[in-house]
């Protein structure tokens, strides 16, 4: 409180009945008071401060009473007076208690429900209702109201008169306050104790991609995504903070490193349901989520964020939240784009002249001559013919088209969103192949008038129709360039009398995959009393894959003697339901806030699959009608059931937004484990200290606007293994022998294996400088995964090649993650923002007792990363003989290195570091975003050579550097066609470090330029919003990689696409 100087003025005055005659003009009150005192016997009691802000008075009275004069003086003054004894006591008018009512809206005039309205002085708080309305009674005049809402900029406003206030909150430009979705709730960067990376709809929508994973690539620290093929619908390898499990698809096992995907609260399968029929391989399941329906993707990385997912959180969690309806006028949004794509890179191959030279040289080297009936390329085919098979196979232009529309709106109580989209992406292969996707997305939210009952319903349906050739035609670039024409004069496939295994038969053998994905989620909550909310989340997903692969007679090589066409079909579906009852309790006392969550999960996944062969179609046109087959042959019929039950809890405590504590725990039970091994407990603690809120920090580092140190430690697990592995069962075979369907042992069984445990530790610093214009995050993590659940390799003499078991191997992932967000320029017309991310991962196999007795010995080395190359030591080409040579274990030159003694070369492969740089420019109505992806990695180029150079397969031009005569020093051994040098070649190319190469690349991953029509034009056109844009993906790649594409390596390169589109909002 201010010190008040009290001036007590005591005057002797005349009696009250005395008449007063006074005339003043614009006189200050105190001078008037003094004159009045002279004419009466009353004295004024007041302080000079009380008179502050009073206005001077002008009047003229004759024979007036004291009361009359005082009334004139105090009129419209913030003062009151009272007469006691002979004193006139002046008081400041007590500021009037107001009843403040108002409505909080966002920039689009849509009400913001749940926004916090706080009185700055007293910390009294209320929240807005679904209409955005709030009322605060008994508010002193001129009190400052602080209005805040997660995701919006906080606004302060002064309470003045009894009028309704409309407050518009701007979307937060401060990234610290953007909403982040976490397990069973939300948080912000500012108040989070864990590590969560977020990608918002605006960034996703800038990318013309069909799979959300493609949009995530390179964007988030710690999330390494590699696109495995450029064929639409194909696979991705996704790892959050490295490889935790020894089980990896890369070494031919069931993948154990997939993150947990959760879409609107419902777990979504990470493993493909499709067979490996088409050119894309197994289709990626995330392809069945329309990226444009996504509001945000949140990547949970550390123990604090993932332990609440217990047994499924080991490899991190990716939360996908779809778009929701918002209150406001009904809004219709239409968006369409189309464009084209070609492969990012081509390989230089030999032309016919060079090819024939290679072949003849090979025969010379071998002292042999071409053999009739074998060496067709030299003796049978037209050697003047030249076909660029690469161009024929993958040189086409893919066409992309995308249309979508949505309607949204609603009032304060009920909001809705209904949208649909269609995306078509053809391939660079010849022929009419494409991946088509139609999607529907619906959302309805309702809240009762009294705000206590809430209901959210989201449903989506995606139909994906993939029509692809059966094989990736990239692989045919090794056809001899003089191979015959693909079609004969009558337009039929040319088999050239059986001398040409015509790969264009693939064009007649379409692989059709139809995937229907249904996703439904409902959240019902009821506020029992303020602070306690009961909530249940109900979810259901069904993914159904129906595939067929047709082999019409016209496509079949006559050499195999087929008399009719045949088809393969597979049907596979998985259904998941999940129920998660929860109770949330919130308590705010003074500066402390406590949040408690308890809940439980019940989940069941059931899967069914069948696959069949159908034979004996009388006509190729009937191939899709299985009723026309004369014989059916069941390849497989499977059923799986997985059930999961859990109880979980979280206690979060926040003191003054300064000290944050977060404790999570979960008890999990899974049917994938045998009796007695089904349950396990997981838990984590996260702490954060926002030191920038300490008063001393403001003095020490005034430019630091935000600073937080956080740490977390905890455990999570993995049950990514097959179902029923603990059961001893017999399964039917697909061969019916004499009318009996046989039964065979399904597996070796082990009832004793248990959970894989991953202990995660993280320390991080989040900071903001210069009023948060520069935001940075530095995190260090160390995850240790033990009790590895692996198929322990067994010799085939046991009847099987592995048995599911725990192994005491310990895998460690450590790493540094950096991210930097800066607002470089911010003026009314021009904004320039930059985001830089960098991840430096390290992976190490810390221990693996008895590794030498397992086949993992050939893949892994203790003390080295899991992703290493092991092999022979390459020693170039012997200048005398022209044959590859190697160093044996003692360092001596040898041409036949021995396994395992000489198999001693090890080198880390895979990413050394990866990251990206995003620059966003906005100038008036123009917006330009440029994203550059950076990956530094060692890869291999053994895919470059698909066959021994010299044999009847085309080769990349680099083979022209081969050894030709004694004394030559070169890196490629002499041509050979009788396979006598095959061993040396395959040792060099597949088993030695010769294949290792720099596969680093810098890629202009995304470029998006858009123009928003100015207001005036929009009004003329009667549209709310109109945006025209151009987008490009994978536009430019800088790399030293000698093969096709450094990311997909051996298979179809990524597609560089350029699209243009328009978005209209009505």
């Amino acid at each position: 409180m201010k010190i008040v100087t009290l001036l007590l003025l005591v005057f002797f005055c005349k009696p009250i009945y005395a008449e007063i005659n006074l005339s003043v003009n614009n006189a200050p009150l105190d001078s008037v008071f003094q004159q009045i005192q002279l004419q009466s016997e009353y004295k004024f009691v007041y302080t000079s401060e009380q008179l502050e802000g009073t206005h001077p008075v002008s009047f003229s009275v004759k024979h007036a009473t004291l009361s009359e004069v005082l009334d004139i003086c105090f009129k419209d003054q913030p003062l009151l007076y009272s007469m006691e004894d002979k004193f006139i006591i002046v008081r400041r008018k007590v500021s009037q208690a107001l009843a403040v009512t108002g409505r909080v809206l966002n920039e689009n005039d849509e009400p913001l429900a749940g926004a916090t309205v706080m009185l700055k002085k007293t910390n009294r708080v209320t929240q807005t209702d679904a209409n955005g309305d709030f009322t605060l009674n008994e508010v002193a005049e001129k009190t400052i109201l602080v209005i805040s809402n997660i995701g919006y900029e906080t606004k302060e406003i002064m309470a003045e008169k009894n009028i309704r206030i409309i407050i518009r909150l701007a979307m937060s430009v401060n990234k610290l306050d953007e909403v982040k979705i976490i397990a069973y709730g939300t948080t912000t960067e500012r108040l989070s104790t864990g590590d969560v990376g977020t990608l918002k709809a605006e960034t996703i929508s800038e990318q013309p991609v069909a799979n959300p994973l493609a949009a995530l690539e390179g964007r988030i620290t710690g999330l390494n995504i590699v696109q495995n093929t450029g064929v639409p619908g194909g696979g991705f390898t996704v790892q959050i903070r490295g490889q935790n499990s020894l089980r990896s698809a890369a070494i031919g096992e069931m993948e154990g490193n997939d993150p947990l995907y959760i879409v609107d609260g419902v777990p979504f399968t990470s493993s493909s349901l499709s067979q490996d029929y088409g050119a894309a391989g197994k289709l990626n399941p995330l392809n069945n989520i329309d990226p444009q329906d996504i509001e945000s993707i949140d990547v949970l990385k550390d123990a604090d964020a993932t332990s609440i997912y217990g047994s499924r959180g080991s490899n991190g969690v990716i939360l996908i939240t779809t778009k929701k309806g918002k209150a406001g006028k009904t809004k219709v949004e239409l968006n369409c784009y189309s464009g084209a794509g070609v492969i990012t890179r081509k390989l230089s191959m030999l032309n016919t002249r060079e090819y024939l030279q290679m072949r003849h040289e090979a025969f010379n080297n071998d002292g042999a001559t071409p053999v009739p009936g074998v060496d067709y390329d030299l003796l049978t085919w037209d050697t003047t013919q030249y076909t660029d098979w690469q161009k024929m196979a993958i040189g086409g232009t893919a066409k992309i088209a995308d249309f979508r529309g949505s309607v949204s709106g609603g009032n304060a109580n009920t909001q809705f969103l209904a949208g649909g989209g269609y995306h078509r992406e053809s391939t660079v292969f010849p022929g009419d192949f494409a991946d088509k996707k139609a999607s529907v997305h619906l959302n309805v939210n309702h809240v009762s008038e009294n705000q206590r009952f809430r209901l959210y319903i989201t449903a989506s349906y995606v139909n994906d129709n993939s029509n692809l050739p059966p094989s990736d035609l990239t692989l045919i670039d090794n056809l001899p360039p003089d191979a015959p024409k693909v079609f004969d004069s009558s337009g039929k496939l040319n088999w050239s009398n059986g001398t040409f295994s015509n790969p264009f038969a693939y064009l007649l053998e379409p692989s059709n995959t139809i995937t229907n994905t249904m996703l439904g989620n409902a959240v019902i909550s009821y506020q029992l009393f303020p602070g306690l909310e009961l909530k249940t989340s109900l979810g259901y997903t069904k993914m159904e894959v129906n595939e067929e692969q047709l082999f019409p007679l016209s496509s079949l090589n006559p050499a195999y003697g087929y008399t009719s066409g045949y088809s393969l079909t597979a049907n596979n579906n998985v259904k998941t339901w999940i129920i998660e009852p929860q109770a949330l309790y919130k308590k705010r006392i003074g500066k402390s806030a406590l949040d408690v969550l308890v809940g439980s999960t019940f989940q069941e996944n059931t899967g069914q699959s069948q696959s069949f062969y159908f034979f004996g179609f009388s006509n190729d046109n009937l191939l899709t009608n299985i009723a026309a087959a004369s014989k059916v042959y069941v390849l497989s019929s499977d059923y799986t059931d997985y059930r999961y039950v859990a109880a979980f809890g979280r206690i979060s405590y926040n003191w003054d937004d300064k000290y944050l504590f977060n404790f999570t725990g979960r008890r999990d039970g899974s049917s994938r484990f045998g009796p007695g091994k089904q349950f396990a407990d997981f838990g984590a603690a996260g702490l954060a200290w926002i030191f920038s809120k300490e008063s001393f920090m403001e003095k020490v580092l005034p430019f630091l606007s935000f600073g937080k140190i956080r740490a977390s430690y905890g455990s999570s697990g993995s049950d990514q293994i097959g179902d029923y592995q603990y059961l001893s069962t017999y399964a039917p075979t697909s061969y019916i022998y004499n009318g009996i369907t046989g039964l065979l042992p399904a597996r070796l069984y082990n009832p004793n294996y248990a959970w894989e445990i991953n202990r995660k530790m993280e320390i991080g610093v989040d900071g903001g400088l210069f009023h948060d214009r520069v935001l940075f995050t530095v995190s260090f993590y160390r995850n240790r995964s033990s009790n590895q659940l692996v198929g322990i390799p067994l010799p085939a003499i046991t009847g099987f090649t592995s048995i599911e078991s725990n192994f005491p191997a310990l895998v460690q992932n450590t790493g540094w993650e950096f991210s930097l967000n800066t607002i470089n320029v911010k003026t009314k017309d021009f904004t320039w923002k930059t985001t830089v991310t960098l991840t430096i991962p390290h992976n190490k196999l810390v221990s693996f007792p008895g590794i030498s007795a397992t086949s993992y010995n050939s893949v892994y080395t203790v003390g080295q990363p899991l992703n290493i190359f092991k092999g022979f030591r390459f020693a170039g080409v012997d200048p005398q003989t022209g044959v590859y040579q190697f160093l044996d274990s003692k360092g001596k030159i040898t041409s036949s290195p021995q396994y395992p003694d000489d198999y001693v070369y090890t080198q880390k492969i895979g990413a050394n570091y990866y990251g990206g740089v995003q620059n966003s420019f906005r100038y008036k109505h123009w917006q330009l975003d440029i994203f550059v992806q950076i990956v530094n990695q060692v890869g291999n180029d053994n895919n470059l050579f698909s066959a021994l150079p010299g044999t009847p397969y085309n080769q990349p031009s680099v083979v022209l550097q081969r050894w030709q005569k004694a004394g030559e020093i070169t890196g490629i051994q002499k041509f050979n066609q009788d396979y006598s040098l095959y061993e040396q070649w395959s040792d060099a190319v597949y088993s030695s470090n010769q294949q290792l190469t720099n596969a680093s690349f810098i890629r202009l991953k995304n470029l998006s330029l858009s123009y928003n029509l100015p207001e005036l034009l929009r009004q003329k056109m009667r549209v709310k919003d109109l945006r025209i844009y151009v987008q490009g993906q994978n536009l430019f790649t800088v790399t030293k990689y000698p093969g096709l594409d450094p990311e997909t390596q051996g298979v179809l390169p990524l597609i560089k696409t350029l699209t243009a589109g328009i978005q209209i909002t009505l």
Partner: protein, 466 residues
């Protein structure tokens, strides 16, 4: 007075409730076995399911197991290439290595088709033997029948394994912990086990084929005897070889039909055949060998073509050719059906012709020249050839080896095994291998133990030369 509830109490009771709910639902995750599979205990609880477990082995052998006849991984094809019976036309490196006698320990045809698959069948047979031994739900006749069949299959697989690889681990239980560290047993030990199993099978198996409605597709007593005769022949036990083959030859169920009927389903010559299970084709032999254009896999070698005597009907009945452009390719034509869904031919495993040749050889080795001649002439006579002119035991031994070449060509690797067991392999291969573009080494008589196996089971050792 109304009791005032306190939020904390409610919260605590909620937590308790939820935890109870989860705890009480431990049962929730006790799932039933998959509806598409049977738990092992119920397999050996009924005659039908137990029979299906045995049938599964035949289905696998006939349908997907290379060594037993599946397509390009078959013993007939790979060993035909390895010896001097087939010419390679495939660009597949694994197959080409068989042709040039240049196998590596990493060859996947070796590790999968010739090693892992027979061992898988052995595991399955061991599981049947163990399952039946502990079963009370299977009737005694079925139990005997199936045990006999399983033992027969186990012996059959070991016969091929020991001849492919030499010393091999002898696995007779399903205990994977013990089996995973098994070392190689001597060939004698393996043969002892084979003989024991086949003798048990002789006792357990029925005389006829009534169990499969007359179809000769499950081994019976004669099959056990026939394989036993071959085993005795390979171990130079001439008396027992003669006795065992005698038992089959004297069985009226079997006779020598005309050349074009030998490989028909349930032909009079068949002792044991695999019924085809793959769609769209009859036998894989017919499917692979018969040419309609330039060969994609193999064609018949010159060595086989030249081995036929001029009048030999097998040269015309069992060999055919196709001319593409100026090139003529010959192919084995024992099986006449390349594709087709109506089954007329079954894949022959054991047939009477071989038994005559076994007895002929056993008799010749014991000095019974007349007996040997008459058995040999049975085969020659059917092929339209005059009786043999050879009249000494040694001459006859050579003549029988030659007769086996032209009678049993491209069947089950007979030629390769004959070259080996008669010590002719080095002499023949030193000429043939260079013609095929390779170079011969006597170590190559045994195939390499797969590299992947030695890696995992460190008790295993590699054969010399690899």
């Amino acid at each position: 007075m109304r009791k005032k509830y306190h939020p904390h109490h409610l919260l605590l009771s909620m937590v308790g409730l939820l935890l109870n709910l989860a705890g009480g639902c431990a049962k929730f995750i006790d799932i039933k076995p998959p509806t598409t599979q049977l738990v092992t205990s119920s397999v050996f609880a009924s005659d039908a399911a137990a029979t299906a477990a045995m049938t599964g082995i035949y289905g696998n052998m006939s349908g997907s197991h290379g060594f037993a006849g599946q397509l390009t991984g078959s013993t007939s094809l790979l060993l035909g290439l390895y010896a001097d019976e087939l010419e390679n036309f495939s660009t597949n490196q694994n197959q080409a290595a068989f042709y040039t006698n240049a196998l590596s320990a990493a060859n996947t045809d070796v590790s999968s088709d010739l090693w892992a698959q027979p061992y898988q069948d052995i595991y399955d047979a061991n599981a049947v033997i163990e399952g039946l031994a502990g079963s009370s739900g299977v009737s005694d006749p079925v139990k005997n029948e199936l045990t006999g069949e399983a033992k027969f299959i186990r012996a059959f697989c070991y016969f091929y394994l020991v001849n492919f690889f030499g010393e091999i681990p002898l696995i007779t239980s399903t205990n994977y912990q013990a089996n995973a560290v098994a070392a190689r047993n001597t060939s004698a030990q393996v043969y002892d086990q084979i003989v024991t199993d086949l003798q048990d099978a002789q006792n357990l198996l029925p005389d006829d084929y009534s169990i499969s409605d007359g179809e000769r597709i499950r081994p019976n007593k004669a099959a056990a005897s026939a394989l036993l005769a071959r085993v005795y022949l390979f171990t130079n036990d001439w008396t027992d070889a003669e006795a065992a083959s005698n038992a089959v030859i004297s069985d009226p169920l079997y006779s020598l039909p005309a050349l074009d009927s030998v490989f028909l389903a349930n032909s009079a010559e068949a002792i044991w055949q695999f019924k085809p299970v793959l769609p769209n084709i009859n036998t894989t032999e017919g499917n692979i060998f018969i040419l309609t254009t330039t060969p994609q896999f193999v064609a018949l070698s010159n060595q086989v073509l030249q081995a036929f005597e001029p009048e030999d009907l097998r040269r015309t009945d069992w060999v055919d050719s196709i001319t593409v452009g100026t090139n003529t390719y010959y192919y084995p034509f024992k099986y006449k059906v390349k594709t087709g869904t109506t089954l007329t031919e079954y894949s022959m495993v054991l047939r009477l012709g071989e038994q005559y040749l076994i007895r002929a050889e056993a008799r010749a080795k014991q000095g019974n020249v007349f007996g040997a001649q008459s058995d040999l002439n049975m085969i020659r006579q059917r092929a339209g050839l005059p009786p043999t002119a050879d009249s000494t035991a040694d001459e006859l031994a050579v003549a029988i080896l030659h007769e086996r070449q032209v009678e049993l060509f491209t069947e089950w690797g007979h030629r390769w095994f004959d070259l080996k067991r008669t010590d002719n392999a080095d002499a023949v291969m030193e000429i043939v291998t260079p013609l095929k573009g390779g170079s011969w080494n006597t170590d190559f008589q045994l195939f390499p133990i797969p590299k992947s196996e030695i890696l995992v089971d460190q008790q295993l050792t590699q054969n010399p030369g690899y």
